[in-house]
Symmetry: C2
Subunit: 269 residues, 2 copies
Amino acid sequence: MKNNAIGVFDSGLGGLTAVSKLHELLPEENIIYFGDTARLPYGTRSRQTIVRYAKSDLAFLVSKGVKAVLVACGTVSSNAINELQASTDIPIVGVVEASADRACEVAMSGNGKVLLIGTSATVGSKKYEEYINSKYRGIEIISKACPMFVPLVENKLRCGYSIKRMIAAEYLLEIAAQKPDAVILGCTHYILLADVLKELFYRSVLIDSGEEAAKRMKKTLETDGLISPTEGKTEYYVSDGSEEFLGKASVFMQDDIKSVELIDIENYN
Amino acid sequence: MKNNAIGVFDSGLGGLTAVSKLHELLPEENIIYFGDTARLPYGTRSRQTIVRYAKSDLAFLVSKGVKAVLVACGTVSSNAINELQASTDIPIVGVVEASADRACEVAMSGNGKVLLIGTSATVGSKKYEEYINSKYRGIEIISKACPMFVPLVENKLRCGYSIKRMIAAEYLLEIAAQKPDAVILGCTHYILLADVLKELFYRSVLIDSGEEAAKRMKKTLETDGLISPTEGKTEYYVSDGSEEFLGKASVFMQDDIKSVELIDIENYN
């Protein structure tokens, strides 16, 4: 079992930012990545549908014999993590607890203010509030859905910096005046907007939820005795547009991805 | 048969703009609308996946006994219309031929220039070029994918006019200088950006592909002897987010929609 790969999934390509971090932290572990490109985006769907899609994504990775799963999707981590954990014995690590812990650590040595930004489904789930309020005292958490951020990253315009800045300001300018100590980028796509977000939140620490989840995965594997350096090989699977995946992947990670396999995700339940 | 409803489907809510037009043109016909909100958007997917999704959308409407189907989705009309027409005996009307005919009519009394704007999959299909070149002489057709337009309409920002104008200019400012006689809005969402598009293309006629398809549907029913005034009732179905549908539908049509039914589209093949 411990020689098996780590599974990682996301609704699309945003989760590749977490794979990058895993490559840094655990360069000799094998990884199997799945991006559900036939059904993305998840962040605007109902909780019921997010749970159904997430279960089939997990079923695919389990069919590949993975030893643990990193849910590199903020929307699934906020809306379906309990259902996923209840359905299997292998460790399932999402982005919520890892990034909330890091944000609270920062906020506790500041003014106690955390801002969560994410998809509509992530913000609507109230999962961050629930976790932080149950574990920390004196932390004020505010949240804001930024539904245009995923399409903005996925369809980067030719010379889009001013457009990115304008959309980010539209969602976040007022909230930035509240000077949060930490801003949780609750969607793994958002780190690709770090330039404009740093401009808006120049006083705040930006928390990359994919990176925090990757660190948490390393800890989990160590605790469970599941670390096992093997070939350091990563396999990529998507449910649609494999050629487009190869074209776009470099936006999300530096690694040169040479091949990707197309699967029919509706066969996994 | 002729007493049965007209079926209309789209990947999501854009097709409601075509239903509006059908209500104007054929107020006494019954209509069954399906929006595939669990799998939208279609415009960034591969042709293979678009065909598969479109076939199940059609299968759902056929299971409801519709007498004809209006494909109120530019992406499906450009990528899967032949497959849909081959799979059933009822008339299937898409947006391509109807809106291309109207655009060429305009262009022939002008400078012979037509611009198509649509999703990446619509522009990539080259279906408009194929149809226009086979039927008309001396028409120059140019095309431009505008992948941010659908998310822009679906997630309208609080005071987004300047953002809409900036994104539209990014895609279309250079091409507007070519002064097309007619601009085909090849996606049924785009009519909701008519304000900024009219500003950019103040010399051109904007062709609403949903409206042209509705007119074509009326003609087809007349020709086939399928017109049959009944109750003028419309039923709405979606594959996800029925409450959100009720909240958003008013963006796309004036009618007050009181109920919508949720179906599992993966059960239809």
